[in-house]
Every structure is written in structure tokens, then in C-alpha cells.
Symmetry: C2
Subunit: 213 residues, 2 copies
């Protein structure tokens, strides 16, 4: 059983505690999942309503994808805690002989790569959450405009935190080809995510400030 | 029983669903609570260790306050859903006679102010979470440097989203004195929060990029 099935308070308490997991990488995936959930909420308040019949099909497709992204980010919330466990287990391997040292080094490198893959996948999912928020600003039920704004903020914060967690793993990974591939993927992703989040936030704020006046 | 005692997945599903609560305001308080939890984690890995004896007392005080902030932001995660219920109940009041209309208007205004107070309190708590993250960048266990970075990102995103949720309520509140008091409080808070978060993020990234090289 994982954290998703336990009480919300169990997760926040474990995060705050003096145990190594869950940590910031898991929490970043969770914040991404909360962003996806808010996109889904907005889409759920749009589909099936006569007023938005013109975008029904499109928003239904966005809802399906958003729910997939939420599922993926929830899985990564848990997976991050398990990936850390592998690094920790490798760290505890014996290093008495040269052979043991080499074996431990190899296990560490494999575990670190697996640990980097979790936030790398989270960043990719958050990028898509941002693209969906960008669509929902125009196509979603305008009564939920602040929820799209919150979805965008969460997805960018989660992506930036995921990128930081990729980077801290790369700092210990010796495979320069892998590291450079990760960095070449991350930099444009962060750039695009920042732009999308800014567009979403500006449009949402313009609408909110126009309300009631 | 509130969402904190239910399964984490119950919360993310309810957030994603076509029900009005929980929404972005509640989720913003939760992300603030996750930020506070990460500060607590860093502090928990610092106190009681000989290596950090020089900052023991200070970090212990930060931990105590951080845990209070986490508790407050968890309460606000739930309170936001209840405040929305009050607005919703006022909206459903009868408006057949002039007297009923006036009564409903009054109830709506009171409920909207109560609903604005929740994200207003959340923004205040997030400001303090950011100040604590700023201290922990220097005083916390450096092995957890990325977790301080994540705490700062979360607290700023949560504060900005809380401010957006204050603003959407103010758009419907007719008490201009109250509105102007709220806005005069929010603007410098967002300004200070943005500066603190930038300082935390820059220092964390400088450390992470210095690692392993």
C-alpha cells in the first residue's frame, strides 16, 4: 500500500518528519497531480453543459488526458519514495574489497539514474498539464477561471522542483552522455513551461480583475 | 471528519471532480502546508546533530514554528471548503420579497468576507514559511538543500494562488474599506514573498550546481 491510499495527514506528517522519504521530489509530483486535478475540475464543469456545447468534444479529450496525467503524477509521488530506497540500499552495500567497491559503485549509478527518471517523467507530465491549462483558459467554464490559474502555478512550481531534483541526481551520475541528454531535455522544457505559465497567469488575472467592476 | 483524515487519493479525486469543493483555494493552502512540511523535514535533519550544534537552538525554534504553520495551513485546507459552503448556502436563500432580497444580500456579503479570510490567512502563513526557508538555506543540513528549494517554490506558488482567491472574492464584496485593507495587505506581502523565494531559489541552485563538480 502506498501513500495515496493513506490519510492525507499521514503524508504531510511523513514529509515533515526526520525520515528520508517522502521528500521534495515526491511532493513535487504531488503538486503536479494537484494541478492536473484542478484542470480536470474545470473540464468537469464544462463538459455536458449546453452553454459549452461548441467545445464539448475538445474539452472532453482534455479531461481524459488530464485524468491520465493526474494518475501518472500520483504514481510518481509514490515512485519517488521507492527510487530513493534503491539509492539508500546501494549506499549500504559492502565496500571491503575492490570487487565489492566496483559492484557498489555500479549499483549506485544505476539507482541514481532510476531516481533521476522519476522527476524527469514528472517534469514531462507537468509540461502537458501546463499546455492543458493554457487551453482551458479559453475553453473552460469561466466561473472556474481562478482554478485554471492555480493549476498553472502548481504545474510550473512542480516542474521547476522536479528539474531541481533531476539536477541533484545528475551531480552524482558519472555518465556524461546521460547527463547531457537530460539537461538538453530539461532546459527547453523549463523555458516552454515558464512561458505557458506566464500566459495562463496573465490571462487569468486580467479576467479576475475585470470581474465585478 | 475532514479531508486531512481521509485518503490522499480521496482528496485528489474530489479536487478533480465536478463538485465545487475542494477547489483551488483549498489546494493552495495544502501546497503551503507541503512547503511548511519540507521546512520541518530540513529542520528535523538538523536538530540533535553534533555537526549543527551551533544552530541547534535557533533551528529548534524554526521547527516548532514550522510545525505550527503546517497545522494552520492544514486547517485552512479544510476551512476553505467549508467557507465555500456558506457562500453557496447564502446564494440559495429566497429572494421573493424586498426583505428577503436584502437579507440574502447581507448573508452573501458576510459569507464572501469569511471566504476571503481563508486565503488571506493562508497567504500570511506562506509568507512566514518563506522566511523560514530563507533561514534554513543557511542554517539547515546542507544534504537537504533541494528540499528547502522546493519548500520556497511551494510557499510562493501557494501565496500567489491564495492572493488570487482573495481577489476573486473582493470582486463581489461591496465594502470598499474592507477591500482596500485586504489589497493594501496583499501587495507588499506578494512583493516580499517573491523576493524571498528568488533568494532561496538562487542560493539553492548555486549549491546544487556546485555539487559533484
Amino acid at each position: 500500500m502506498g501513500y495515496l491510499e493513506e490519510a492525507l495527514k499521514t503524508y504531510t506528517e511523513a514529509l515533515a518528519s526526520g525520515k528520508p522519504t517522502p521528500g521534495g521530489g515526491s511532493a513535487a509530483a504531488l503538486v503536479g497531480a494537484l494541478g492536473a486535478a484542478l484542470n480536470s475540475m474545470v473540464a468537469n464543469f464544462t463538459v455536458g453543459r449546453e452553454k459549452f456545447a461548441g467545445v464539448e468534444e475538445e474539452v472532453r479529450a482534455l479531461l481524459d488526458e488530464s485524468e491520465e496525467l493526474r494518475g501518472e503524477l500520483e504514481r510518481l509521488t509514490q515512485a519517488d519514495t521507492e527510487a530513493y530506497g534503491q539509492v539508500s540500499a546501494a549506499q549500504k552495500m559492502p565496500r571491503g574489497t575492490e570487487g565489492e567497491k566496483a559492484e557498489r559503485r555500479e549499483a549506485m549509478q544505476q539507482a541514481l539514474k532510476a531516481a533521476a527518471e522519476v522527476p524527469r517523467a514528472a517534469a514531462g507530465a507537468c509540461h502537458r498539464v501546463l499546455e492543458i491549462a493554457r487551453e482551458l483558459v479559453e475553453k473552460g467554464n469561466p466561473n472556474l477561471i481562478t482554478d485554471v490559474g492555480v493549476a498553472g502555478k502548481f504545474a510550473l512550481a512542480a516542474m521547476e522542483c522536479a528539474a531541481l531534483n533531476v539536477e541533484i541526481n545528475l551531480a552524482y551520475i558519472k555518465d556524461e552522455e546521460y547527463n547531457s541528454r537530460c539537461r538538453q531535455e530539461m532546459a527547453p522544457r523549463l523555458h516552454a513551461g515558464t512561458r505557458l505559465a506566464r500566459e495562463v497567469w496573465e490571462k487569468v488575472n486580467a479576467r479576475v480583475k475585470g470581474d465585478g467592476q
